[in-house]
């Protein structure tokens, strides 16, 4: 890999944050940075790699920003950009600047659907086409969304800073956006090619960064632990033929013990801070499931309690469905079904996990015909072939009704 490429990967977000924090012009900063990288490719091949590549890139990008700014602005306007020129590259400053970039990406004024892609593009420098495919959005739509978000940041001069009283809420928005990036890969875990693994690695990288930048926020650790638990099971989620294997049937020897150990340690650190939140609860549920599978003894009541706590703080559709299943494990399938029935059909209609859970519970109550219909619905909504085939097999096993 070319040294400029290596530098790009490691420093993109840091450099962009420094460039954009004062100007509020993300698009302009991106252009300047892109030109600087391009210049580096040719320059470094001739002169060799500079001793401090980041400083070189920053200086080059700033020069371009200033040029572009001069062209744009009228003479009488004083501007902040010139001040940039005198700053030295302060390595200690980097972390803070990147945090501000994360916060502005998850700003309440930024459309929720733009937050995750904006973060991936500005902090990691991923290209829009890859982000669009991973998040299952048309590239043109994604381009427009990113453009609108950047225009908003610049024109409305959205603050890159966060008032202390807003910190918990804003941190949560950052973590939520990172989790959404992870979800894009978790749904699609065939893992045959790097591209089809979605953005799981990138999401974990961002979560690690957030833990470093927000050391006092236990939910950041909760998110990292949650993703590490999920990553630990990647290899076990598929048979050799690509068939989907649900958690309760996975072979624990295919789990990654290092990742699990890391997740346990991080979750422990989070819980010591004494401020529980939805992400820590989700991680704790993962931990309980893994434990049950390894020890062979399930504690359904403990899992249910975690879900009830989660339901109180984050009653999302996914949590409501999972809670119904957890309830059915202690109270029987009929009470789980009652909970599913209470979910409005307008929101459950095209949510595949809802129909899988419903089919499973109907099967357990002996309502085979209804179960078959629900399996059909789940199969029709499945995006991933392994999951589709698993559901087809379950439906087949019901036999003729």
């Amino acid at each position: 890999m070319h040294p400029a490429e290596l530098a790009a990967r490691a420093s993109y977000g840091r450099l962009l944050s420094i460039l954009a924090v004062r100007t509020h012009d993300l698009a302009g900063a991106e252009d300047a940075l892109a030109e600087a990288f391009l210049a580096a490719v040719t320059r470094w091949s001739i002169d060799g790699v500079p001793r401090n590549p980041e400083a070189w890139l920053l200086t080059a990008a700033r020069r371009r920003l200033i040029d572009a700014d001069r062209r744009r602005r009228t003479r009488e306007e004083k501007h902040v950009l010139l001040q940039l020129n005198d700053e030295t590259v302060d390595r200690d400053l980097f972390g803070d600047e990147r945090l501000r970039l994360l916060f502005v990406c998850a700003h309440p004024a930024i459309d929720v659907t733009a937050r995750t892609p904006l973060m991936l593009q500005t902090v990691l420098g991923l290209d829009a086409a890859r982000i669009a495919s991973a998040l299952r959005v048309a590239p043109k739509t994604m381009g427009q969304r990113l453009w609108r978000a950047k225009t908003k940041i610049r024109d409305a001069r959205l603050s890159f800073d966060v008032a202390p009283e807003d910190l918990p809420e804003r941190s949560f928005a950052v973590l939520e956006a990172i989790y959404a990036a992870y979800g894009s890969g978790w749904e699609d875990v065939t893992g045959r090619a790097a591209a089809s693994r979605g953005l799981t690695d990138e999401a974990i990288w961002l979560a690690r960064l957030t833990v470093r930048l927000l050391p006092e926020e236990p939910e950041a650790r909760g998110l990292l632990a949650l993703m590490l638990y999920a990553e630990a099971r990647t290899r076990a989620r598929r048979g050799d033929d690509g068939a989907y294997i649900p958690l309760t049937e996975q072979d624990p020897s295919r789990w990654d013990p290092h990742r699990i150990a890391e997740a346990e340690a991080i979750l422990m650190e989070a819980s010591r801070m004494g401020r529980i939140g939805p992400l820590q609860l989700e991680a704790a549920i993962q931990s309980a499931h893994l434990d049950a599978r390894r020890s062979g003894s399930r504690d359904d009541r403990a899992v249910l309690m975690l879900y009830e706590a989660l339901l109180r703080v984050a009653p999302t559709l996914g949590v409501r469905v999972a809670h119904a299943v957890a309830l059915s494990n202690t109270e029987g399938p009929a009470s789980g079904l009652d909970r599913l029935d209470a979910i409005a059909s307008s929101i459950s209609e095209d949510y595949q996990p809802y129909w899988s859970a419903r089919a499973h519970l109907l099967e357990r109550t002996g309502r085979r015909e209804d179960a078959r219909d629900a399996y059909d619905h789940a199969i029709g909504l499945a995006e991933e072939d392994g999951v589709r085939r698993w559901l087809l097999a379950r439906r087949q096993a019901l036999g003729r009704v």
Binding site: A138, D376, H377, A378, I379, G380, L381
Partner: protein
């Protein structure tokens, strides 16, 4: 917004039409896409190699030929007309189409507005 989902299939997909698992997957997909009121029309098509005939006028003269219009590796194998709020939703349904797991392609096309 009305979109057409145009399903292009490879030879492998067309062969798989007799595979019970593929049939069951398609039945479930069709059921799901119609049940929620998403699909408002569409149909699967028979193998282009045996069922397609094309018509055109060349210099005012009729020309009728056996076979599909475009002789490509993938053939148009079926289509759905769906009514969804936006392209994101249309792509969601495209992603669920069982043909894609066997190398098929779904083209999502915005329909012309209906004359009022």
């Amino acid at each position: 917004m009305r979109y057409a989902l145009l399903v292009y299939e490879t030879e492998a997909c067309v062969k798989a039409r007799s595979d019970p698992e593929y049939q069951a997957a398609y039945q479930a997909y069709i059921k799901a896409i119609y049940e929620g009121g998403v699909a408002i029309g569409g149909s699967g098509l028979q193998d282009a190699a045996t069922s397609a005939t094309t018509f055109r006028l060349v210099g005012g003269e009729r020309q009728i030929q056996d076979g599909p219009f475009a002789d490509t590796k993938e053939q148009l194998a079926g289509f759905f007309l769906i009514d969804v709020p936006d392209l994101d939703k249309a792509l969601e349904w495209a992603a669920r189409c069982p043909s894609t797991a066997r190398g098929g392609i779904v083209e999502v096309r915005l329909a012309l507005e209906q004359p009022t």
